[in-house]
Symmetry: C2
Amino acid sequence: MTDQSLTRVDRDKEDKNMDKSNLSESVIFPKGEELPELFSKYFSGKAWLSMLVDRDNEFNCPIGNVTFEPGCRNNWHKHPGGQILLVTGGCGYYQEEGKPAQELNPGDVVLIAPNVKHWHGAAPDSWFVHLSVETNVNAGPAEWLEPVTDEEYSNL
Amino acid sequence: MTDQSLTRVDRDKEDKNMDKSNLSESVIFPKGEELPELFSKYFSGKAWLSMLVDRDNEFNCPIGNVTFEPGCRNNWHKHPGGQILLVTGGCGYYQEEGKPAQELNPGDVVLIAPNVKHWHGAAPDSWFVHLSVETNVNAGPAEWLEPVTDEEYSNL
């Protein structure tokens, strides 16, 4: 019984790390590949993308699974058609310009209205995973802006 | 230590039931309420719906979290604008008319093209949870058809 208990203790510890600081595999949906240069230049830190629904098809609803390493966040940006985030793992932040950042946890849903300047990313000590649903895609691609500075990020 | 171990055994058992046969709470996203009559009349068995993104807003992208009890499935139906399923928990099935049913597990994504006749629902011995993303909503509402008979369902 004691040996079995120790095994469980180890597994509990491992599960905790998976939740908060070492999501080396993504949660539920595939982690995919490290972001291509096209996007990574707008991120501080490493992130991974798996496109679950492609951009160019009859659904007009691109859906990606995005995994951020601890501390990783994207630049301030805007979506002309809006975006929906569905949080599936870890802990992160969403901030709109001029408002305080909101902490995000699994089960949270963020509705980002068209042309609202914002950023999202992981907490400093946690991996973070969300689905990104792009809406009204005919409105055009994201407009990428300046990075979230270390000072802004460290003052969350 | 023994008491602690027993607690862990109990929790493991509970976790297993959550996975496969007793998802009394939904997975990640809220379970919501039992389907209203508007939809429940097109389902065999009990299902729950939590609308994560409403139908009538600027996103044009209604997203619902749907939880099916074991054995529950919806009628054959069509979406004029298409639908995307993102499976988050349990085990279920998706079938298009004239094709074999496909088993669905967490992480699976189903792209249902406009006007394809299909049904989806839980396996006989498992709860089942998916996100439903309705696409091209301006094409109009779902067209509901005949139930999946017990004979069809038992022959999967």
